[in-house]
Amino acid sequence: MPPARRLAHALAAALAAGALTAGCDSSVQQPTMTPSQAVERVAARAQEALRQLPPGATLKAELNQPEIPCDNGGDKSTFAEIDYKIDYPAGWPVAQVIPTLAGYWTKNGYKTVTDKRTDAKTPTLGVEHPDGFRISASLTYRDNGRIDAYLISSSPCLQ
């Protein structure tokens, strides 16, 4: 079979398989909420994480994508992602962000997806809530001595 036709057949079969298995992404069913509801929950999860940290810090969105296509050219499902930088005052215990949130997330049923806590330059801990929404906390130890902290919150693909 010519390679071009093999490619088309494989993709057509996979698309059919995709249709049959749609909704089986990750460990949860794709939620049936609107994009704006997903964005609300994404933001709420980030605020919830911030509340576990010492007072004085605020969140500043550096990436705000409410409707990212899950599948180029396929179905029209989307997911949301917001990347926040944690703005904190001098003396704030930024190095405690990840350990504090690790404890909170473990206690509240989140499961670990990404564990790069031992990375010397950009340690990261990423988790997933039972509803499929994910959040990660990361630090960047800049060469100039500054430590930048981030929360990256996202939704699963929405039906």
Binding site: D25, E62, L63, N72, G74, F79
Partner: protein, 556 residues
Amino acid sequence: MTGLTLQALFDADADAVAAAAQGWLAMAEAVDNATEGLIRGTRDLAHVWPEGAAAEAGNAKAVEIRAETSNAYQPCQRIGRALREHADTVRHLQDSLRQVTAGAVAAGFQVDITAGTVSAPQHMYQQTTAPHVIAQQCSAYMWQLQGLLDQAADLDGRTVTVINANLPDAQRGFGSLSLPPVSEAALRAQKGHPPADVHAWWDTLTPQQQEQAILEHPDLVGWLDGVPAADRDTANRAVLDRTITDLAGRNNALIDRADYIRAMADQGRLGELYPTSGNPLGSALSELDRIEDQQKGIQDTLTGSTAIANRINDPNQPPALLLGYSSADDGKAIVSVGDPDAADNVVTYVPGTMSDLPSVAGDLTRADIMAADGNRLDPSGRSTAAILWLGYDAPDQFTNAGSSSYAENARPDLQNFQSGLRATHDGPASHNTVIGHSYGTTTVGYAARDTLAANDLIFVGSPGVGVDSAADLHIDGTAGNVWASTAGNDVIGFTGIDDTMRFGENPDNPGFGGRQFTSADGSLNPVATHSQYWDPQNPSRRNIAYIVTGQTDRVE
């Protein structure tokens, strides 16, 4: 610098000259910016104040001021560049002077910088059976030192000439004569020239000429590789705004026409609308179908165009520049998140099958994601810009994705674009990466088979890149700068036989000779997995960011 001596060369303060150069170049940039503002702020004056003696005088003065301000730019820039070259060359000559002097002293000779002489102590002549050789060596050192002095004198003369030629006239200043406008033919003639040459040509234009070219020929300036990103952005925004207005107008006209047809139908007057038709109702239905098709086409183009406009005009998002825009056929768009002419790292993202203007929003978010990841994950604090390059006609559907023609046709455009990034970048060269996804990897590979101005290449979800070995890709790097990853469940992995894909060896195969990095296996939906490389917490995102920011030792 008359009566130039070695001592004077030795003592020359190159740093002071470099600082002066910086001052002149900064002034040139300020003049350029001020001229742009002046031109944009006054060019409508003749339209809003068209009549009367005062209007005439005001408009004439505006023309004169625009020209004189514009005419100040090139002289400032030439003086700045001449001083910069002067400082660099002086440093180089001083290094050479130190090396020659050290060499002579190490060989036992005596160097008098003040007197400008090289001599041998008496004992050197006495301790040799060939004293003439000692004399010849002395002469050789003197000859080298004189050569350095001659170069310094030449440099001096050239710099003085440039400064004198570019100082303003005591009476007329820089003059208020406008140079001839840039013609469409002149712009078209630049296409096909190496971007570095285009950049040099663009630099010879006054700010006024550049503004005129952007205003009158934005379609040409906006796509000309070698024109600085900021100027391309200005041109393309004009085309985008004009297109959106035009499309909205056409759509409204179609709506009006459809409403009119329905109104006439309601009134039983279709016969008046289609007087020569034997079936006015059929004619009306046919026309309504055509209108619906046309509206769909317009809506699709408007969707993508509006998505671009919303992104580049969003004050709550990182600044973005529009480096290319066309609504013709499936549409094309080149959008940079961040300024590639200023950023330390630049990644060009080439999307794959079914990428077109109507669906551009999704690919735009990937550029946003890569820029954010690069800036977040680089401890050095160097800046990253990410460019969506939909500068080619991608396959419309998977059944077309088996053809190499789309990649072949894209080759010169992608090559020129990447070369253009190098030509217009300010300061030290940026670290440039090109990343392809799916058929986009094939497009990148076909371009790199000849040559592609990139330090690193990244292939994700690739159906093959047109070669069977990374060594056959010609970039500003080696096979070790060619990276690939295919998710375990990616549908693209099922389209090959063993490691042979549609367009050659799988670049993710160790036998390809490049380097592999980790992506998440992906979901049970293989088609969805093909698009998950930019999903949150996918290791591919970190790895792509590490490659883009030159932290390849951290790639897993």
